[in-house]
């Protein structure tokens, strides 16, 4: 006998990370102007070239209009009603994590992020970003031994200005798009990672982003540079408190891979997605792009998108070096009234470049899930190869799933395959599993897991487990 599902209990289960940390912060006055940008830059004691770079981006941003082409609806965003900087108040300069505010550490504890010493055994180096600033980076000593630089962006700007000057904006220029320009102007912190020549990064690197303050936006910037023959695997996680207003998150991530280098970038995104009537939630407008500059370089994006009221995100790879490889694996789950317009761009420039795209979309309740992808083969990309697969699953009758794949081929030697399908969980599958004694939730979870398996297996183990749990939690109550 299968235990009947307590519907109320499941449907009303709330967002686990929706708590607010009561911590003293120093927010900036709301609004955006050159003055605010100067204040941000000053606050972070940045060198002059950074301020100029920010102002250039801001001036360009003012000439741009918010893009209207994505397939979702939302009210206008008032860019003057956002506070562009918010940081936990620091008393003095901190020397070690022990001096970090207890409240703050507790927050990350509750989120399950191993920041403190006793948890460092987990073997993952973490950079934790709270609102606008990085609060602590673990394992720096061990990484330094290997020659790896892993620190917050502010630290990198003051300690490694030559790298910043050379690479910041080299993949996503400030003029790239509306949100990238905004980010370039006001970005507050983020992670910086540099893997020197021939080094295989001994640890998984990880950044954890948390938006806490109300009415503030988070604009972080991540830059990863992998020199010749190096390897790094990088993870990113995100959460935010449950609030009634929408908050803006406009991040930029840039990856640079030199000859024979490999970068693996994984994301588990679980921003607050709003309540079931669609109030509140994070607007997640992110520009992520990697550039395979060297020959035989490799960049792979793996993402599990399970949160945010609106997700607008296209992790891309520019395959410039000959024989370079780009990969994109994605699971996007939408429920309640979430809207996701996500996918990838693979730009083939070098000879014999290869790309693989596997995208799985699951749409439930009243949500809207879109895959939008571009595969572009430039005239120079002889022998380019692409395989794309995007599958959608619909659960319930009020959601929608759309696919917009753009394939542009300008070289006659290219070989491309694209396939997409849309389906539902069939009654036969469910009946089979239920007759074997699985309950409704268990059966759905099993089927969804199988559906997403190709993507999950690309994630590092800990993340893979977390991602499966996350999907299970999100799907509870939406089936049956």
């Amino acid at each position: 006998m299968v235990k009947p599902i307590q519907e109320n209990e499941l449907v009303n289960r709330e967002y686990k990370y929706g708590f607010v940390t009561d911590i003293e912060v120093e927010p900036f006055p709301k609004g955006l102007s050159e003055k605010v940008i100067k204040m941000i830059s000053e606050k972070k004691s940045e060198p002059d070239f950074m301020l100029e770079w920010r102002l250039k981006a801001y001036r360009h941003w003012k000439t741009l209009k918010e893009p209207k082409w994505p397939n979702f609806k939302y009210g206008p965003i008032d860019y003057q009603a956002i506070s562009y900087y918010s940081a936990p108040k620091k008393k003095t300069n901190l020397k070690s994590l022990d001096e970090v505010d207890k409240e703050l550490l507790n927050t990350f504890e509750r989120l399950g992020i191993p920041l403190t010493e006793q948890k460092r055994l987990t073997g993952v180096a973490v950079d934790a970003v709270f609102d606008s600033v990085s609060v602590g980076t673990t394992h720096q000593g061990e990484l330094a031994k290997a020659g790896v630089i892993f620190c917050s962006m502010s630290e990198a700007i003051s300690h490694h200005p030559e790298l910043i000057k050379k690479y910041l904006g080299s993949v996503v220029p400030h003029s790239d798009n509306f949100f990238a320009a905004l980010n370039s102007a006001v970005f507050s912190d983020g992670s910086f990672c540099y893997i020197p020549k021939g080094v295989r990064c001994p640890l998984e690197l990880s950044t954890y982003f948390r938006i806490n303050a109300a009415d503030s936006g988070q604009f972080e910037r991540t830059l990863i540079i992998a020199e010749d023959d190096s390897y790094v695997s990088y993870l990113e996680g995100c959460t935010a408190p449950s609030r009634d207003q929408n908050q803006l998150h406009a991040a930029v991530v840039e990856l640079v891979a030199m000859n024979n280098a490999e970068i693996k970038y994984s994301t588990v995104q679980n921003w607050y997605s709003g309540d079931k009537n669609g109030n509140g939630g994070i607007y997640n407008f992110v520009t992520k792009r990697g550039k395979c500059i060297g020959t035989n370089s490799k960049i792979s994006w793996t993402q599990v998108e399970a949160g945010a009221a609106i997700t607008w995100k296209y992790p891309s790879v520019i395959l410039q070096g000959d024989n370079s490889v780009g990969k994109f694996y994605s699971v996007a789950l939408t429920n309640n009234r979430m809207q996701a317009d996500t996918g990838t761009k693979m730009i083939h420039i070098g000879k014999n470049t290869k790309s693989t795209i596997v995208s799985k979309g699951i749409s439930t309740d009243y949500s809207n899930n879109n895959y939008r992808g571009l595969v572009k083969i430039m005239p120079t990309a002889h022998g380019a190869r692409n395989f794309s697969q995007c599958d959608s699953m619909l659960v319930g009758n009020n959601c929608s799933a759309n696919t917009f794949p753009y394939i542009e081929v300008k070289n006659s030697s290219a070989v491309l395959e694209h396939e997409a399908s849309t389906s539902k969980i069939s009654a036969e599958q469910m009946f089979y599993l239920r007759s074997r004694g699985l309950d409704l939730e268990g059966a759905v979870s099993l089927i969804i897991n199988g559906f997403c398996k190709e993507v999950f297996k690309e994630l590092p183990l800990e993340f893979s487990v977390e991602a499966i749990k996350l999907l299970e939690m999100k799907l509870e109550g939406s089936v049956g």
């Binding site: 959601c399 759309n402 006659s412 389906s423």
Partner: protein, 436 residues
Amino acid sequence: MIVKNDQLSFISGLKEFEILVKQESPLWAYNLRKESLDRFAKRGLPTVKEEEWKYTNVASLKEHQFQIASDSSKMAQLKELKAYYRKEEINLVFINGVFSEELSNLKKLPKGLKVADVNDAALYSQKEAAFVLQRYPQDQDDSFIALNKAFLYRVAFVQIDPKTVIKPLIHIIHVTDAVKSSVSSFPRSLIMLGKSAEAQVMESHLSFSDDTYLTNALSDIVLDQDAKLVYCKAQGESKNAFHIGTTRVWQERDSQLDSFSLMTGGKITRNNLNIVLNGSGAHATLNGLYLINGNQHVDNHTAVDHRPPNCTSTQLYKGILYDAARAVFNGKIFVKKEAQQTNSYQLNKNLLLGPDCRVDTKPQLEIFADDVKCTHGATIGQLNEDEIFYLQTRCIPKSQAVEMLARGFVDDILNRIADESIVAKLNKLLAEYFQD
């Protein structure tokens, strides 16, 4: 009535056209032209900034002056036309957009079939209002539909009574022959099948010259309950011509459409095929083929709108590109919330045989119902080296081996057409590519 404006700068002979139509037009036609012209003037030619025209640039239309054709007397190459013409079939021939009575054979029509070029304006007006206007709101017309309506003059009109099966092929032939200067023609057809009627209709756009001209065609097809139509559109325009055409199909319950489109002529071609499945149990097959070389550009847009439950649609578009040809495919499948148990399939295959070909393909699914099965796919590639090598080891020269394999690629889709007369006509248009 027609005020010359910037948007219309590529069309000339407006005054002559006005005089021509005034003699015979009823008021409704006058109003339709006027409204449509205003609409076009407001919209102008589409630009590549519009999503629907992202990959096809029609700005070069403005480099020409297309005279509205009104005279068919100077038709020269009748001999070539004969190759597409069978006496036992029902032929409607239009020369430069004008109906040619002596070339058509509409004397002995089977019972239940009305075929006319519409001088019979009253009939047309009534039908246009009843069948087309109420289904397609005018304000949603795109630029080229509006342009076609703005120059409404002659209409190929096919109506089949309920429960009537018409065996012979109904062939609407549009020939353009720009004797004097660049001409423009605006072919319009209206094909209506009553309940449980069956027919085969082919529309050919031909030219036996290499003139520069503009064809802007609009065809409307309405299939009533349980009607069955085999429809083929063959475009073998001159290699310097512009062809912009839209076919709209409206399908009621249990009706079946089996359509095929061949695009092989034209310098810039845009072919829209929009299907609305409005009654449950309806089925549409959309097959297409394009073979282009030189600097030709072919853009196929299809849209299938699944509205009620239990409809099916299948699409297969194949194309071979030679030299520096460029192909665009955009296939949209919409599945509305009520359209449960929809089954929809779409595939676009491109074979690149030239050194500088370009392909832009965008299969697109928009699904709002959960109990559906929809798949789409696209492939772009070359011939298999092993297959060519195998044929070469059998003493077949490489060029011939390539041709044989290309022929196989084409036959895969041509063989899906049951009617031999249609296949024969299509093969004639492909003669340039295959020496059979």
